[in-house]
């Protein structure tokens, strides 16, 4: 079976008034049916990676190098009809703000059916029955009635369910989820996370879930890739990342989650702020904020250490630890 996702040395630069080196040599692989959380803070490049995978970035201002294949399809070579067929058919996306991603002037049934008709070429009646089936699958109560609702008639959690139904209607092999629960209340967030987990099993698709919240990553994914300054600094199974994080940045993020911190105790905060990425990094990007940094860290890009199969850390210290 072909690999679901294979990104090799993806480098992406936005040009224009200011140059931003948004992604620097990102490589990432996923097998069929895996769930991966892309964990990082704002500006770390996690959303850009998703947009690149969907070919959503403005071509005039974006320079891309490297390779991206999804199910053997070379994403960067797609254009026109092929790209349309790929988006929504092979890969689809769930956004953070369903209120903005759904069209306010059409009923939700119409929107889902439209997408099914476009990709599968079926009749409207057939598409409508698929839409109804999808609303059922995302556990929307009295789906029959909801089919004819407009997005503004639904609550935030319901809208996100509709968004998911829309994304899954054409049975994509890969679902991209861009912080789909960040705008939701806690009790609704957990419902959506569990729903996504069930649907992932049911449909057997792969999921890339972008989030800044480690807790959410734990709930949803088997594997985690941590991004910082447009690079993947650590990757492993969720258990490996939570229980034995090796990169100082990942360790800092775990500490900042405040899950097990004594009340009022001084927090071990990572000082400073992420770099602006106006120049291409030629050393470890995290070194200026790193408690373990020493002279070697500024000499060149950190080595990629592989302590276990499908596990990697981009850090000089991890290399030393592995050697000991």
């Amino acid at each position: 079976m072909t690999r679901l996702l294979d990104i090799r040395n993806l480098t992406l630069r936005f040009t224009g008034k200011r140059t931003v080196h948004a992604l620097n040599n990102v490589s990432l692989a996923m097998e069929q049916g895996e769930t991966l959380a892309l964990l990082g803070e704002s500006g770390s490049g996690k959303s850009v990676t998703l947009k690149a995978l969907l070919g959503l970035l403005p071509p005039k201002r974006t320079q891309i190098e490297g390779q991206m294949t999804v199910n053997g399809i070379d994403v960067l070579s797609l254009s026109g009809r092929a790209l349309q067929k790929y988006r929504g058919g092979e890969v689809s996306m769930v956004f953070q703000e369903p209120a903005l991603a759904l069209d306010p002037v059409y009923t939700i049934g119409h929107q889902i059916a439209e997408s099914v008709m476009r990709h599968k070429g079926v009749s409207r009646a057939e598409a409508m029955s698929t839409a109804l089936d999808m609303l059922d699958r995302v556990r929307i109560p009295s789906a029959n009635r909801r089919l004819h609702n407009y997005p503004h008639e639904l609550s935030g959690g319901m809208r996100q369910r509709v968004m998911i139904a829309l994304a899954l209607a054409c049975r994509p092999r890969l679902l991209l989820a861009d912080e789909p629960t960040t705008a939701l209340d806690a009790t609704v967030q957990i419902q959506i996370l569990l729903l996504l987990r069930e649907l992932q099993k049911e449909f057997g698709m792969g999921v890339i879930f972008v989030t800044h919240d480690i807790g959410v990553a734990v709930e949803i994914s088997e594997r985690v890739a941590v991004m910082y300054a447009g690079q993947i600094v650590e990757e492993g199974t969720t258990r490996e990342i939570i229980k034995e994080a090796r990169h100082p940045y990942t360790q800092g993020l775990l500490a900042a989650n405040l899950h097990d911190v004594a009340r009022g105790a001084r927090l071990n905060a990572i000082p400073g702020a992420p770099p602006s990425l106006e120049v291409k990094p030629d050393a470890c990007s995290f070194a200026p904020r790193c408690p373990l940094a020493h002279a070697d860290c500024l000499k060149g890009l950190p080595p990629m250490v592989h302590p276990a199969p499908r596990r990697r850390v981009a850090c000089v210290c991890a290399e030393r630890m592995a050697a000991e």
């Binding site: 957990i190 734990v218 405040l258």
Partner: protein
């Protein structure tokens, strides 16, 4: 340093035992207007009969989901919106009686969630921080502003003449904190003040807030949807649901035992952080109801798994748990005289 001095001068009128803030039966309904004539067609019951008190020097955390009225409560407390009913008593003086709004505003300040929207884009950082001191006619507003900027970790020589859009989110939130402190307040209301920040920056700002509280003897009301953050910074936690208080308790007490079914659901909705033991069943179904027409009786009864007829008909009163006078909750399960089949027995284990 001049700033520290002026903090020390703030008078403590009621003595240490007098709570800094007492709120009694606070109510705010926002009218919804419709039709051509703009008649009131309904009310959003944003805050409905909320009572609590904040002791001097403590941090009260307020948690709840969207529409629970936590931000409205904050805005009522600093007098940005007018209350319909109820009392706000600040250090023994009732607002509107012995205490004017202008005096209240000198003592109570707020830090907002959106660090960009809460700074005037056309003012330099220095002017923003110094504005309040100038308005209140305090001495040397610029020097105050500069020393406060330094205190919150922004070098005044480098940042004084910058504009908000040139700063990062964390830096802007430091500016907002400095601006609030420039008024030498006694109470600072932090409305989701760290929620929009990246996790690593959030930790820095939390450290800063902890230091400032100790240094200036501040009292905080800390509003957030993130239970971990609230637990870290607060002494007591107040849980709101659809405009009402459902539970108030010291942090350790509520962490051990969530007395109200809603509080319990809110806590179980937290991601588990344990990959071997992930959440299996969502604690609640559906979204919170609309505060325009909240359910009758106990407002949580539509989503509560222990709801009975009495929950629909009678609103529970806030009362202490047996053996824990600090731990209050509004639930028929804990009220022996409520008529619930499990009255006085609490949530089944």
């Amino acid at each position: 340093m001049s700033v520290t001095e002026s903090f020390a001068q703030t008078p403590d009128k009621g003595g240490p035992a007098q709570p800094l803030v007492i709120v009694r039966d606070l109510q705010k309904h926002f009218p919804i207007r419709g039709g051509i004539l703009g008649r009131t067609t309904a009310h959003v019951q944003a805050v409905d009969g909320v009572s609590f008190s904040v002791r001097k020097g403590e941090t009260l955390g307020i948690v709840g989901e969207s529409g629970c009225g936590k931000s409205t409560t904050a805005r009522l407390l600093i007098g940005l919106i007018e209350k319909d009913k109820g009392e706000i008593i600040f250090d023994g003086q009732a607002l509107g009686e012995s205490l004017s709004l202008r005096d209240l505003r000198r003592d109570v300040q707020m830090v907002f969630q959106d660090s960009y929207a809460s700074l005037n884009p056309r003012l330099t950082i220095l002017d923003s921080v110094a504005f309040g001191a100038r308005v209140q006619g305090l001495d040397e507003p610029e020097d105050r502003a500069r020393s406060l900027m330094a205190r919150v970790g922004l070098d005044p020589d480098r940042f004084a003449h910058r504009y908000p859009h040139e700063l990062s989110g964390g830096q802007r939130q430091r500016v907002n904190i400095a601006r609030a402190l420039a008024m030498s307040p006694r109470l600072v209301v932090l409305d989701e003040a760290v929620s929009a920040l990246d996790k690593s920056v959030e930790a820095q700002v939390l450290n800063l807030l902890t230091d400032l509280r100790r240094e200036y003897g501040l009292t905080y009301i800390f509003i957030s949807h993130d239970l971990n953050v609230v637990r870290y910074i607060s002494d007591r936690i107040l849980v709101m649901y659809l405009g009402e208080v459902v539970e108030v308790a010291p942090v350790d007490s509520i962490w051990q035992q969530q007395a109200h079914p809603y509080t319990r659901s809110l806590f179980s909705a937290m991601p588990s952080m344990d990959p071997d033991n992930r959440t299996k069943v969502p604690p609640l179904a559906g979204d919170p109801p609309n505060p325009i027409n909240p359910p009758s009786g106990c407002r949580f009864h539509t989503r509560c798994r222990y709801a009975e007829a009495v929950c629909k008909s009678a609103a529970p009163r806030l009362g202490a748990l047996p053996g824990a006078p600090d731990h209050l909750t509004a639930c028929h399960l804990h009220d022996a005289a409520s008529g619930h089949s499990r009255a006085g027995m609490g949530i089944p284990a």
